[in-house]
Symmetry: none
Subunit: 214 residues, 4 copies
DNA sequence: ACATAATCGAGACGGTACGTCCCGTCTTGTG
DNA sequence: CACAAGACGGGACGTACCGTCTCGATTATGT
């Protein structure tokens, strides 16, 4: 179940020597390849077993690392998961094709793809389940993943308002919910069939029908 | 965290002696109060700890019965949870106030209330997390809880179509998603503030703005 | 490395039902076969690895028993070893052939045999090594094994005094040391060759030469 | 529990530069103060924890030295302990006061004192316990410590034979056992009180009573 | 009334996973 | 090169449960 084995890494993967001028602690420095392997294994385990079912031992084994190496860096499971979630941050990349509708469709398609294909998307329902028990973890996830994702939709909407295509007093947050909500909700709870591209177009059109200037 | 303790039940709670004419196995008959206590404890544990964190031992303890009493009835955790989920079925109660908008708002408010106040609503994210691992459990939940809940909204929409208030070729499933989706999505993923009654009205109005005949 | 496997024991080995009139705790009673298997394994491990090298896990494995079964009975290693040592008690069997010399030789031969052939004899140097760290354990061993062993020699000497064959004011404890000491000392510290029967006779004769009435 | 800290040593303690004319390996020469500190720490640890409980890491820490410094000199624990035991050799110092009895008493007193006061005496039972597992270590100890100690007694006895005070065909080894045995045996196994000076006199007298010419 | 037979609470059992600790090895920078 | 410092993989330890099992006590039914 190992994601990245440290021992198998290419020799060239070793980190460069520390830049001069930085005080370094004595002794053998920590191997940064272990950090990445552990974080990656944590995310995989999180997606597979959830926070409750995640064990430090399984993470260490999946990372190909001794248990002590994990505990030396993160004293608790919560701290490890929190740091792992923090790496999920996605850069905000606005796109502007000129067409308001096309940009919204594109943004929602990216939401859809995220939930299916990425590790982060598979982690989402696991964290949702633990939201009552560990609200801070889901909050981290929300800030790192959900908020940027919503922001892509919201920025398109704001542009529509600025360009006079949408109602001037539009509640951006509300409309974002009305676009992202149906896609995300359906994606996660549907029995088998996922949300299709056609359906996303219909969702956008229906919402636009109610908020566009006429 | 025991919900119902068998031992503490009033003597009058005992089931009536079996009706004559029915062949009964010899020996002491099973105590039906144990069944209900175990099912109830299972649902509570499911809401509290999720499927992965649920243990037969904890269920037995919460129900105030011995472990053997649980295993005598359900050999596996999955069978127990499946039976427990099957009891969540909610009766379908349509309401018709004459106003399409008011009925939709009422139906969505019921969705909102369900997710917050009921045990079933707290179980939902737990099962969602296990959907990949145990799809049959979530499917049971969907049939027992989600489908009836959506049906309340869909029936109102169908009535609107029949009465000529809504577009004739309306995609009921799609619009149901667009009404339930934003509420449910926001309710479960929001940081702190829940969905307000006002917002539900806005959601209904926005959707109606795009699908109402004009 | 298992000494006695519980599972493989004959069905007839089950303990008899408790005598009536004794209050019994509820639940499944403890299996006494586990107790004996654990004690036996403890003594074997003690002889093999000493007190410091003895681990509860190894004892459990050697006894063919789960670790919990050991900890349920003895919370600490010290308590387990103490109880194990208490079972080493040997019944005192005086022998009287009429000849003072022959009886002393026989008693010393029994000391010699004990140190070589018995588990208890192999445990002795292990406990001696831990005498500074855990004096109470060695004290238990002394009372259970060493004292009775010395008493066999001392009782013969006392008889010799009573029958007028030995000096009336003989220091029994001292002479016991002078008989047991050379045998035990040589037995444990000698490079390879053990103490022979001939040598034991010489030791007895030499001591008798100094304390016999002449 | 460090015996000698290298780091804390006075600068003057550095070894003198090597005499010219000797071929020396290139690079920094080994610090001889480390050797002595490690050996000393090994003996202390051996007395405190025994062979099984002794770890290279603990030795290094007690010596105030890095672990690598120990492993560079001795690859295994056995090699280190063997070298440490080899340093325990005691010079043989016969004494002759003219009185056979007094010399024997003095020799036995030295045995007694050794077992109590010296590090070597506290190591003795530790090694005894490992005699089955590591016979070569105890053999080293025997040659370095036990044999010289016995020789002091034996030489007095031989002198007694030569001077005609003892039986001509005396078994020196046997009588040595009979003198050293009771003292050592009692010293190590006694519950609390040690062997007194008076008792040593009694032992010597009793043995002499049986072997002296009359 | 009394034997029969299955249920029930309680808890012991073998097994396993957990987090901690520590060992011996390896890898840094400094002298 | 030697040396300290300490990170690393591996493994053992004691704990905590899990699901199964085995007790005595209880409770209905048939004779």
């Amino acid at each position: 179940m190992a994601v990245t084995h440290v021992r198998g890494a290419a020799p060239g993967g070793r980190p460069a020597p520390a830049p001069s001028g930085v005080v370094r602690p004595p002794g053998r420095p920590r191997d940064t390849r272990c950090d990445t392997a552990i974080i990656q294994a944590t995310l995989t385990e999180l997606a597979t077993s959830g926070f409750g079912g995640l064990s430090m031992e399984a993470v260490a084994a999946a990372a190909g690392v001794g248990k002590g190496t994990v505990y030396r860096r993160w004293p608790t499971k919560g701290a490890l998961v929190a740091d792992a979630l923090a790496t999920l941050a996605e850069p905000y990349e606005p796109h502007d094709t000129g067409s308001l509708r096309d940009d919204l469709v594109a943004a929602l398609n990216s939401v859809r793809r995220h939930s299916i294909q990425t590790l982060s998307g598979r982690i989402m329902p696991r964290l949702l389940a633990e939201k009552e028990t560990h609200p801070e973890l889901f909050e981290t996830y929300r800030q790192q993943v959900i908020v940027p994702s919503r922001e892509r939709v919201a920025s398109v909407l704001r542009r529509g308002v600025a360009e006079g295509e949408l109602l001037a007093d539009l509640d951006i947050d509300l409309v974002t919910d009305m676009l992202v909500g149906p896609v995300s909700y359906r994606q996660y709870t549907s029995g088998s069939h996922e949300v299709s591209g056609t359906r996303i177009g219909q969702i956008v059109d229906t919402v636009l029908g109610g908020i566009r200037l006429c």
